[in-house]
């Protein structure tokens, strides 16, 4: 089949799966996950086929796999929609296909397929577990299957459809569609256990916060369309005249060029979706959703879509910029937001005890890394880190889900009331859950940028080196500090969870998870190592040049020139090795001896720890600054005061005045009040009020008569006036 046709087809199997599961198989668990995985699997297969064709095609950047049809005739211009695969979307498609399929498989085990139905389980709440009797007559408490098992796979499939759509589409409108549908799925899946109050609130918060970003993005799309007359990537970015005009025409605000203005508006969409400061607050709360959701939506795919957009619009952000020259204002904003977020989120991660929340802040921080890379013009490094991060962060999330699952098993066994997500309640799990441990270790080391062997090292090193060579010292130092903290909190996490001795009975009885969960961990850990080998810089000491720097060449082609391999400098390399190993060692030293469930940093840092633990009190600040005033305005100002007091007050006053005049006229002159002219208002009130009283009990025939009479009266009045005139 032609690659173009395949490209159209890629998003469809999950959509078909969603429809089938929702309408037909919602009561059949095995059939539902079968259909979902088959859907994800077909998309995966087609993605890989297209990917292979794409990398084999010479000049893919100028000659992408693309086709389109016309969709929305707006005025004189027809908006066309279509699909395309260029170098950027090809590599994104690759990691999206793999992570989605792995997460689908993992979900089967995560939702306890094959386990008994819990007697106390209800839809909308996480399963509580079921009691089973073994052959000896002993009662055991075991995990029970998720009551809304099929629905989960339905939503997950819809999400997969939207993500594939976003990757393969060739224009911003379709991208926005996928983007919003993913937002919806994120809402539905964070609030999957909708019976939980916290989940319900988190879902709402996620949708609202990202939508703030989306509206600016929509404005950016509108702005761009009005200037360019198209939303197709190639027609915009490939049109040198247009790009030149956009770069040189002022936008009329903040001293930006039109390109910069549009770029920044679109970028605010990224800030929301990829949880960048100051719109990052939704992502940690989104951990309320089931763990596969956290892995897929909030680590590997949806949040990556934000970065993908930022990379996609790089030509706009950087319009007028020469590599090596001064950054454009738009790039500076992007770089600053990214670098700040990277460090800021890393500091919070240090003080979180929930195993998933640490990863959530870590995700925010790593996305900040990529955004910073876009900002400083390290284009290929941003893509590279996007790819490697998707693999190792999905791995870590799935690993954490496996850990939680194992500890929950222990909790059921021991009957303790401990939080199965709190790392301080764990310890020593390496022996109980070996596969989870080793894969988590690989993911953790990749996240810390452990030198040479992990993928994270290569991509992170490339960003640091880009910042260094670009002369962006502030960003370089910020990112290096963030990397140090990253290594530190990762080692803290590994040590607290897996090393040492168990700190609770539950941890002592934790259990390795079924193969459906561990197999995806193993597959992803392979990529967490090998993905980095595709982008080893040619000038790297000793091993540089063993493998071609394929990634740099392939994605760099998108910029129209093969990026000059940066001159090698030992500074960024040394820094990156030092912060990685230093952070890891420090984390090990601080946490290796933790025997009781108290964080040693708490005492050492004092008030600062509290500040970090409470995420700098940003949620409280937003509540005070934005949410409370907004509620006040709508409740007190518009609803109570303006609508009921001012507008209705004036109306009632007019009505009363007319009534009063009417009464005066009648009493004074004793003339009938009914007068079609000026005081219809008063007569209407009187007539309406009086007429309706007897009507309540009257008969229908009478109303009909009244209706006809009224119509005739109207007509009569009309003609009377006509005659007069």
């Amino acid at each position: 089949m032609a690659a173009e046709t395949l490209l159209w087809l890629i998003p469809l199997p999950p959509l078909a799966a969603f429809i089938l599961i929702t309408l037909v198989t919602s009561r059949k668990k095995a059939l539902s996950h079968g259909i979902a995985i088959a859907g994800a699997g077909s998309s995966w297969l087609m993605s890989l086929l297209v990917f292979i064709q794409a990398i084999a095609r010479p000049n893919l950047a100028e000659n992408p796999i693309a086709t389109s049809i016309s969709w929305l005739p707006t005025g004189e211009t027809a908006l066309r929609i279509g699909v395309q695969l260029d170098n950027l979307s090809a590599v994104v498609l690759f990691f999206v296909a793999w992570t989605i399929l792995m997460i689908f498989i993992y979900s089967v085990g995560y939702h306890n397929y094959g386990q008994p139905v819990g007697e106390r389980d209800v839809p909308g709440m996480p399963p509580h577990g079921a009691d089973v009797k073994d052959s000896h007559g002993h009662t055991h408490r075991v995990p029970s299957v998720e009551p809304m098992y099929s629905r989960f796979f339905g939503f997950l499939s819809l999400f997969a459809f939207a993500m594939y759509l976003l990757v393969v589409c060739d224009n911003l409108l379709l991208l926005y569609t996928g983007w919003e549908v993913m937002g919806l799925c994120s809402y539905l899946l964070i609030g999957f256990w909708y019976g939980k109050d916290s989940a319900k609130k988190a879902a709402m918060k996620a949708f609202m916060t990202t939508r703030i970003g989306d509206v600016f993005m929509l404005l950016g799309i509108v702005f761009l369309y009005t200037q360019a007359g198209t939303l197709n990537y190639r027609e915009i970015f490939g049109n040198a005249d247009l790009m030149h005009t956009l770069a040189t025409t002022p936008a009329g605000f903040l001293g930006l060029s039109q390109a910069g203005g549009i770029g920044l508006l679109l970028f605010i969409g990224t800030v929301g979706k990829s949880a960048q400061f100051p719109l990052h607050v939704w992502l940690p709360d989104a951990m309320e959703g089931p763990t596969p959701v956290s892995a897929m939506i909030h680590a590997a795919t949806m949040v990556s879509a934000g970065v993908y957009l930022a990379i996609r619009i790089f030509p706009l952000l950087s319009a007028g910029w020469e590599p090596g020259g001064a950054l454009t204002p738009a790039m500076m904003v992007v770089g600053a937001v990214g670098a700040f977020t990277a460090l800021f989120a890393a500091t919070i991660a240090v003080a979180q005890n929930d195993i998933k929340r640490v990863l959530a802040y870590s995700t925010i921080s790593q996305l900040g890394y990529m955004i910073a890379a876009v900002g400083i013009g390290a284009y290929t490094a941003a893509i590279f880190h996007l790819v490697t991060h998707a693999f190792f962060k999905a791995l870590l999330f799935l690993g954490s889900g496996s850990v939680i699952h194992g500890v929950e098993h222990g909790v059921m066994h021991s009957g303790e009331h401990v939080d199965p997500q709190d790392m301080l309640n764990m310890g020593g799990l390496r022996k109980k859950m070996p596969v989870t441990f080793w894969t988590f270790l690989i993911g953790g080391l990749a996240l810390s940028g452990f030198p040479i062997i992990t993928a994270g090292f290569w991509s992170k090193d490339e960003i640091l080196s880009g910042a260094f060579h670009g002369g962006q010292t502030v960003i370089f130092v910020t990112l290096a500090l963030a990397a140090l903290l990253t290594a530190f909190y990762t080692m803290r996490q590994i040590t607290l969870t897996f090393l040492g001795q168990p700190r609770t009975e539950a941890a002592r009885h934790a259990h390795e998870t079924p193969w459906t969960m561990t197999l995806p961990l193993v597959v992803l850990s392979v990529f967490a190592v090998t993905a980095g080998w595709s982008g080893i810089p040619e000038h790297f000491p000793l091993i540089g040049g063993w493998l071609p720097n394929w990634f740099e060449h392939f994605t760099g082609a998108m910029l129209g020139h093969e990026g000059e391999p940066a001159a090698f400098s030992a500074v960024p390399l040394l820094v990156s090795v030092t912060v990685s190993l230093g952070g890891l060692t420090l984390g090990w030293l601080v946490y290796k001896g933790v025997k009781i469930a108290v964080d040693p940093l708490k005492k050492a840092l004092g008030g600062l720890h509290n500040l970090l633990k409470n995420k700098y009190y940003l949620d409280e600040l937003y509540n005070f600054l934005f949410i409370k005033p907004a509620i006040w305005i709508s409740e007190v100002f518009t609803s109570r005061w303006m609508d009921r007091v001012v507008i209705d007050g004036i109306l009632h006053a007019i009505a009363r005045a007319f009534l009063w005049i009417g009464r005066l006229v009648r009493q004074g002159f004793d003339v009938p009040v009914v007068n079609a002219g000026g005081d219809a208002l008063a007569s209407g009130i009187k007539k309406g009020g009086a007429a309706l009283q007897p009507m309540q009990s009257g008969r229908i025939q009478q109303y009909m008569v009244v209706t006809i009479t009224l119509v005739m009266v109207f007509t009569a009045i009309l003609f009377a006036i006509l005659k007069l005139v």
Binding site: Y194, G195, I631, A655, G689, L692, T707, V711, L718
Partner: protein, 502 residues
């Protein structure tokens, strides 16, 4: 006689014939009454589909029309003149489409005086169709007022607790606006010697001194009907007290009469004033978008929330219309249809829950998704269409309107589009807030624990609305295509004046 066999006249006669038939049936035979009313409205819908097939979508002018001399005043003749064009065809279809759905929704909700209810309903349908078909000012006025009466009784008799207040408020508000409109029509007709709308195109240029006042008189009547801020306070009251089917038609069609009036009168008759007034009307529209949304957010009564959301959504429609460019106008007209579909559906949903629990207070609900999964799912779909999720109808309309407003030379400030865009966030705020309050979380009230999920009839009322919503969302091309030539014609009338002003 052949004139009376005109397709549009027949369309008007179908609901009237139904009313007559109902009159012959004894009121006690409620079930027969219901079926006759439903079948009548379905015949009208089927007939309008045939009419649609006869409609030439490439022709920008009036079609299928008939013009019969009706009354004579001195030298001026009032005609019974009806015709349809790209501006009105979708409104006609919306009316015939929503009426059977609304009637079907009353099956068990209206138990008392069924015959009267149905008779008024069919009369209302005839009146609404007349408004969209009339091409003579006096005829338009007659139909315009004619719709008031059945609606007044639908609220006043079958309404809720404060029905009298609401009915009178509704009646007076609209009446006071339309009296000024009547005065303007009479003055215009008698000075120009014709009441025929096609002949009055661009008449503002002939009476430059009075054009501003005339425009104002029309605009006031239509702004009340839409309703635009600050003339909107009748709407929440009317909606809250109206029976479900009344709300569906009120929101779905009656409000559109206001927006349609702008398209049929203000813009083609007084293009030069329309261009000057556009920035100000756009300002009011934007205020309405934000104001309606803010007020909707704090309503405790779900129906009131939906009513205020109409104020916000109709703000988009007016913004699009007064962008006075093809994108804005097309988006505005499409959004009229969209609002009819999604808000109509929202009112149906509110009615269904009210029928079960006899309350619409949000704090009486919670966790309903668990109890009524079908209801929860369908509500979510409608909510998503209303908040403008791409893939459903609302997005297409809003996006086109925003593009129109952004590029509009008549509105002239991009801030309008930017502020309007915040309406997109706000819609999500109040609707999802409502959704999570009612459907998510634990079941908080014992009496909600065993509510029955939707039955087949109720699902049947919602499915057509959702189907068309999805159609518009996925492939809006046919809808745009049918209105495009008429919109271009309208633009051609206004365009010279935009060029002059700028």
């Amino acid at each position: 006689m052949t004139n009376l066999l005109n397709p549009l006249v027949l369309l008007l006669l179908i609901p009237l014939a139904g009313t007559f038939l109902l009159w012959l049936i004894p009121g006690g035979r409620k079930s027969l009454v219901r079926w006759v009313a439903l079948l009548t409205s379905l015949i009208a819908f089927g007939y309008s589909l045939w009419m649609l097939s006869q409609f030439q979508s490439t022709d920008p002018g009036l079609q299928l029309g008939v013009k019969i001399p009706w009354l004579q005043f001195g030298s001026t003749t009032v005609h019974f003149e009806v015709a349809v064009d790209g501006l009105s065809i979708l409104m006609v279809m919306l009316t015939t489409f929503l009426t059977p759905i609304a009637i079907l929704s009353t099956w068990t909700a209206v138990k008392e005086k069924v015959k009267g209810f149905m008779a008024f309903f069919l009369l209302l349908e005839a009146g609404m169709l007349g408004v969209f078909l009339a091409q003579d000012m006096i005829l338009f006025y007659v139909f315009w007022e004619f719709t008031l009466v059945p609606m007044y009784f639908l609220i006043g008799i079958w309404g809720g607790e404060r029905k009298v207040y609401a009915a009178v408020k509704f009646f007076l508000f609209t009446m006071s606006g339309s009296l000024l409109m009547l005065a303007a029509m009479l003055w215009l007709g008698l000075t120009q010697g014709t009441f025929s709308l096609p002949q009055l195109e661009g008449v503002g240029g002939m009476v430059p001194a009075a054009a501003g006042l005339l425009f104002g008189a029309f605009a006031l009547a239509f702004a009340i009907k839409v309703p635009m801020f600050p003339l909107h306070t009748w709407l929440p009251d009317a909606h809250v007290e109206a029976p479900t089917a009344g709300s569906v038609i009120l929101a779905g069609v009656l409000l559109k009469m206001g927006a349609y009036g702008f398209l049929r009168f203000n813009i083609p008759l007084f293009p030069q004033v329309a261009v000057k007034a556009a920035p100000w009307l756009a300002l009011l529209a934007v205020i309405g978008i934000i104001y309606g949304a803010a007020t909707a957010f704090v309503q405790k009564d779900v129906k009131k929330l939906v009513a205020y959301s109409s104020v916000s959504h109709l703000g988009f429609v007016v913004l699009g219309i007064f962008a006075l460019n093809p994108l804005g106008l097309q988006g505005g007209i499409l959004q009229m249809v969209n609002h009819g579909l999604s808000t109509g559906a929202l009112f149906l949903l509110v009615g269904m829950i009210y029928e079960r629990r006899h309350t619409r207070q949000m704090d009486q609900f919670g966790g309903l998704w668990k109890v009524m999964p079908v209801f929860g799912t369908l509500t979510l779909l409608v909510v998503l269409s209303s908040v403008g999720l791409p893939g459903l109808n609302g997005f297409v309309g809003e996006f086109t309107i925003l593009m129109g407003a952004y590029t509009s030379t008549a509105i002239n400030y991009t801030l309008a589009a930017i502020l309007a865009a915040t309406g997109v966030i706000l819609a999500a705020v109040y609707l999802l807030h409502m959704y999570q309050h009612v459907f998510l979380g634990p079941v908080t009230h014992e009496e909600n624990r065993f509510l029955k999920d939707l039955n087949a009839r109720e699902i049947l009322t919602l499915v057509p609305l959702l189907a068309v919503s999805a159609w518009i969302g996925l492939y809006p091309k046919p809808f745009f295509a049918i209105m495009a030539p008429a919109v271009d014609k309208l633009i051609a009338i206004v365009q010279p004046f935009i060029a002059v002003v700028k």
